[in-house]
């Protein structure tokens, strides 16, 4: 009986340990995305988060140097892909893509003063579609996730510029015209 009990204890502890570690990233990301939704960040639209100050900080160790624009995505709710456009900025900036397990599956440094466009395609759905071969396509390993644009904005002058230009950021399903361009392949 003692031997069996010991085996049961070890196996159950080992399985629970492994399962918990595997589940932690997804659980944390799911909670983070739920909190963003509760704070008014919609699906498929960039929202510029106000520059961190002592009065408005909502996360630990916010960087007052950076301006953030966030888009939540759910590729199950778009027919083909998601168009992502980053407006030009006269300072250091980048765009990062995170899957539902917190992995940063793609990051692109944006050249100063240049706009960039991407097509976010579901890795699950891409096989045989030809979408992945399109210029600027990024494969998402999960259907849900986050897109984060970071712009260096260490003072009010930069912040004003970000506020003015971030309205040009886009995170949305393709317009009907763009869908038509691809539709004959399908």
């Amino acid at each position: 009986m003692k031997g069996v009990a010991g085996v049961v204890l070890l196996v159950s502890a080992g399985l629970a340990h492994w399962a918990t570690l595997e589940l932690i990233p997804g659980a944390i990301m799911s909670r983070a995305m739920d909190m963003m939704a509760e704070r008014g960040i919609p699906l498929h639209s960039f929202v510029l988060v106000p520059r961190a100050t002592p009065q408005n900080q909502t996360v630990v160790r916010p960087s007052p140097d950076l301006a953030y624009s966030i888009c939540r995505f759910d590729l199950d709710q778009v027919s083909l892909w998601l168009d992502v456009e980053v407006a030009p900025y006269p300072g250091m900036s980048s765009v990062s893509f995170f899957d539902d397990q917190t992995n940063n599956f793609s990051v692109v440094a944006i050249p100063i003063g240049e706009a960039m466009s991407f097509r976010l395609v579901s890795q699950r759905d891409m096989e045989g579609s030809g979408l992945a071969e399109s210029t600027g396509s990024i494969l998402a390993p999960s259907q849900k996730g986050l897109i984060l644009i970071r712009r260096l904005a260490p003072n009010d002058e930069y912040s004003y510029q970000v506020n003015a230009l971030a309205v040009g950021d886009r995170c949305a399903p393709p317009s009907p015209a763009n869908v038509f361009e691809v539709a004959p392949e399908g």
Partner: protein
């Protein structure tokens, strides 16, 4: 029947131990958990796993907890220091001279956080220092104190911070910095000038 019940209880106990130890290892409960990757350059400490490709379940879980949405190492690296040069804890009740040189990165900054890892609740507009204010070519010095000591000069406000720390961020660090941070980082020094209660 009794034996089966005992085994079920043991299995539940084992599952609780396994789950609890996993939460501890990930740093979610009871401290920092397994940290394999701290580096320390003259008191400036960095968890070098943050922003790296996640390798292994422990690192992945730790990053999810402590580095959610963190920038990749190619974008930024972070160092934090909570003691002055003599090893005493940084405190709002003391004045310090922070000094250093340029860093091997496209841009860098130093920001002050309180013991809860939050920006201290003050409206001094002096929570950080960055390379646009220090310049790139010469050594620099800044006062860290609860009140501004002089109109001129660099200043980081510690008002309402209590026990605090400083975080040095290097944006787009050089490849040499990524390869050998201990050799490349120009670790700023923090000299205590005086304290109110000493």
């Amino acid at each position: 029947m009794v034996k089966v019940a005992i085994l079920i209880v043991i299995a539940i106990l084992g599952a609780a131990i396994g789950a609890g130890s996993a939460l501890w290892a990930a740093g979610i409960v009871g401290g920092r958990g397994f940290v394999f990757s701290d580096i320390d350059s003259a008191g400036w400490v960095s968890d070098w796993s943050i922003g790296s490709e996640a390798a292994g379940p422990y690192t992945r879980a730790r990053i999810a907890r402590h580095g959610l949405l963190a920038m990749t190492k190619e974008e930024a690296v972070y160092f934090t220091r909570n003691t002055e040069d003599q090893g005493e804890r940084l405190s709002e009740s003391c004045r310090y001279v922070l000094s250093g040189e340029d860093q091997p990165a496209e841009w860098w900054s130093i920001t002050l956080y309180d013991a809860q890892s939050r920006l201290p609740m003050n409206d001094d507009g002096a929570l950080s220092l960055d390379v646009t204010r220090t310049g790139r070519t010469q050594a620099w010095e800044a006062m860290v104190s609860a009140t501004r000591q002089a109109e001129e000069g660099l200043w980081i406000s510690s008002r309402n911070a209590g026990a605090f720390d400083l975080t040095l961020r290097l944006y787009r660090p050089s490849q040499a910095m990524l390869d050998d941070p201990l050799a490349e980082l120009n670790a700023p020094s923090i000299r205590r000038v005086d304290c109110e209660d000493r």
